[in-house]
């Protein structure tokens, strides 16, 4: 696989990491305590993300995908198991694991597009000139040159998500975490954003962990798919999807069907519905 973004700013020399494993999620159980109950979101989930992976967490709503992502991001602590990035246990949130959320309000409304992308860079101490250059670069990469000085509330949903992606990528994190970033978009915009994301990945070759509940999106975006069972989330399978993009093919449909049966095996099955409209 092509080049992978270097991250370490302190020691320029690449450390010896023996395998390609970047993120190691090791038998992670996540629980929420509310006032009157304890909810287990995921149970003993384990997977490894390699450098350059477009790793997808796929599962029905409520199976704990977001919780897993938040645990990797450092917002919640596993009650059992460990999460390691580069062999180091994850201790809390940090800019080496930038998150793109589903919600449009993740951008800071008091900052322009440019300032939003710049801010995390400056917050981590990147020198002003380099930070500005990088911010401009990534804004151009997501095609928002003309809107650099606009405030988020004047942008469409898709544009806001592009800014969020630019912002996350500009900090050049070890891994990009995306929680259903396109789920709130209309179908046309979603498709475009998926294509752009893949294009961007092809250009930059970063590592990402991508959460979705859409089988189709998982196959398009991912090279590797972790299928989670319904609540509480457990690993059901880990599949390859590197061969498929947007083009509809025999293999695509077969994989889609296979995952579908996997997810809905326990339920009285309705005939597999194809979510993809026929395309030439």
């Amino acid at each position: 696989m092509g080049r992978v973004l270097p991250f370490s700013t302190q020691d320029g020399a690449a450390r010896d990491v023996d395998s390609g494993v970047l993120l190691d999620v090791d038998d992670v159980t996540l629980q929420y305590k509310t006032d009157d109950r304890l909810v287990t979101a995921t149970y003993k989930v384990d997977f490894q993300v390699h450098r350059g992976d477009r790793f997808v967490l796929l599962g029905p709503s409520g199976c704990g995908k977001s919780s897993l992502l938040k645990a990797v991001a450092g917002f919640i602590k596993p009650v059992e198991g460990a999460i390691r990035l580069n062999g180091e246990p994850v201790r809390g949130p940090g800019p080496d694991r930038m998150v793109v959320f589903q919600e449009f309000d993740q951008l800071l409304p008091w900052k322009t597009v440019f300032q939003n992308v710049l801010f995390p860079l400056r917050a981590r101490g990147v020198p002003a000139k380099e930070a500005a250059e990088r911010a401009r670069d990534y804004i151009a990469k997501v095609g928002l040159d003309r809107f650099r000085d606009s405030y988020p509330h004047t942008l469409s949903g898709g544009m806001k998500q592009r800014v969020a992606i630019a912002r996350a990528m500009a900090t050049e994190p070890e891994i990009l975490l995306m929680d259903e970033p396109f789920a709130a978009l209309d179908a046309l915009t979603r498709r475009r954003m998926q294509e752009e994301l893949l294009q961007l990945w092809d250009d930059v070759r970063f590592t990402m962990l991508f959460v979705t509940h859409s089988i189709e999106e998982a196959i398009i975006v991912g090279n590797r798919i972790l299928v989670l069972s319904p609540h509480p989330g457990q690993v059901k399978a880990e599949l390859n999807a590197h061969a498929f993009g947007h083009e509809k093919s025999e293999g695509f449909a077969a994989l889609e069907n296979r995952i579908h049966t996997m997810l809905f095996a326990d339920q009285p099955t309705a005939p597999v519905k194809t979510t993809r409209a026929a395309r030439p």
Partner: protein, 294 residues
């Protein structure tokens, strides 16, 4: 059942496709507004119009009622206001009041900031703030004045004390509820940048809660202004030259009713200026520009 006969069936219509016009042909896709459109959209212009209407109503009623002792005309009041400002000591009185006011307001804001910082960072601070605000917020500041006079003597100290009390609680309450209302996503985004402690509060929570903070500032200002005038009406003679409240009280005693009205008008004008110049400018350049408030 006859529903079979009149079941709703949409008619099948012919399909069509069209060439759309070039954007250039359509004309106004985006153009600057005409002066008239601008004026109608200008809040200041609309408010001035309301003020003019109110002034006209005042003048009309006063002329009709023919009772200058109880209700002088607007023109007479304005004339008195002018002479008091130029020849008299009204300006000086205003400055005295404003100076005391600003000191109390500033201390109140700082105290509120400290309390709310404590409240968002520690559980104890949170409990402290909610207990204190529920105890003291309903307590009218002016009711504390006798006590304050006992503690700080006749003078600016006592008035500053009641002013701080008037500003602190509504300010703290608003700021705190603003912090509480910051969306989970924005909080996580801030933490994701690696921001912690004071930097996190100042760079994420404060701007995100700015609409509520501005409301707190406005309410605090109004409470302080009211409290000050009331306190001066009662004890104003104590604070050196006396403020604008004392000006009103003195003139009422001498039955200089136009001067009383002039003093009241001055209070209103200062209030209007602060609201429509200072706070509005603040709002336009922050929360409105950022789309956080309409």
């Amino acid at each position: 059942m006859t529903s079979h006969q009149n079941r709703l069936v949409p008619q099948i219509r012919p399909e069509f496709e069209r060439e759309v016009l070039e954007a250039g042909v359509i004309g106004d896709i985006s153009r600057p507004l005409s002066p008239w459109e601008r004026l109608a959209g200008n809040t200041l212009a609309r408010r001035v119009l309301i003020l003019v209407l109110l002034g006209a109503a005042w003048q009309g009623y006063a002329v009709w009622s023919q009772n200058p002792l109880m209700f002088p005309t607007l023109s007479e009041t304005l004339a008195t206001l002018w002479t008091s400002l130029v020849d008299g000591n009204l300006l000086e009185r205003c400055l005295t009041s404003l100076r005391v006011l600003l000191v109390g307001y500033a201390i109140g804001i700082v105290a509120a900031a400290v309390l709310t910082m404590l409240a968002v960072t520690t559980r104890f601070g949170n409990d402290l703030l909610s207990t204190l605000t529920s105890m003291f917020n309903p307590l009218p500041a002016i009711a504390l004045l006798p006590l304050a006079l006992l503690w700080f003597g006749l003078g600016e100290g006592s008035i500053t004390f009641v002013l701080v009390h008037a500003v602190l609680w509504p300010m703290a309450l608003n700021t705190h509820s603003g912090f509480m209302g910051v969306s989970e996503t924005q909080r996580m985004a801030g933490q994701n940048y690696g921001l912690k402690g004071l930097r996190y509060v100042m760079l994420i929570l404060v701007p995100a809660a700015l609409p509520s903070i501005l409301t707190g500032l406005k309410i605090g200002w109004a409470f302080a202004w009211r409290t000050l005038i009331a306190a001066e009406l009662v004890f104003g003679v104590s604070s050196g030259s006396g403020g604008i409240g004392w000006f009103i009280y003195e003139n009422r005693n001498q039955l200089e009713i136009p001067s009383v009205f002039a003093g009241l008008l001055m209070v209103i004008i200062i209030g209007l200026l602060v609201e429509s110049v200072i706070f509005r400018t603040l709002e336009i350049n922050t929360v409105r520009k950022w789309g956080m408030q309409r």
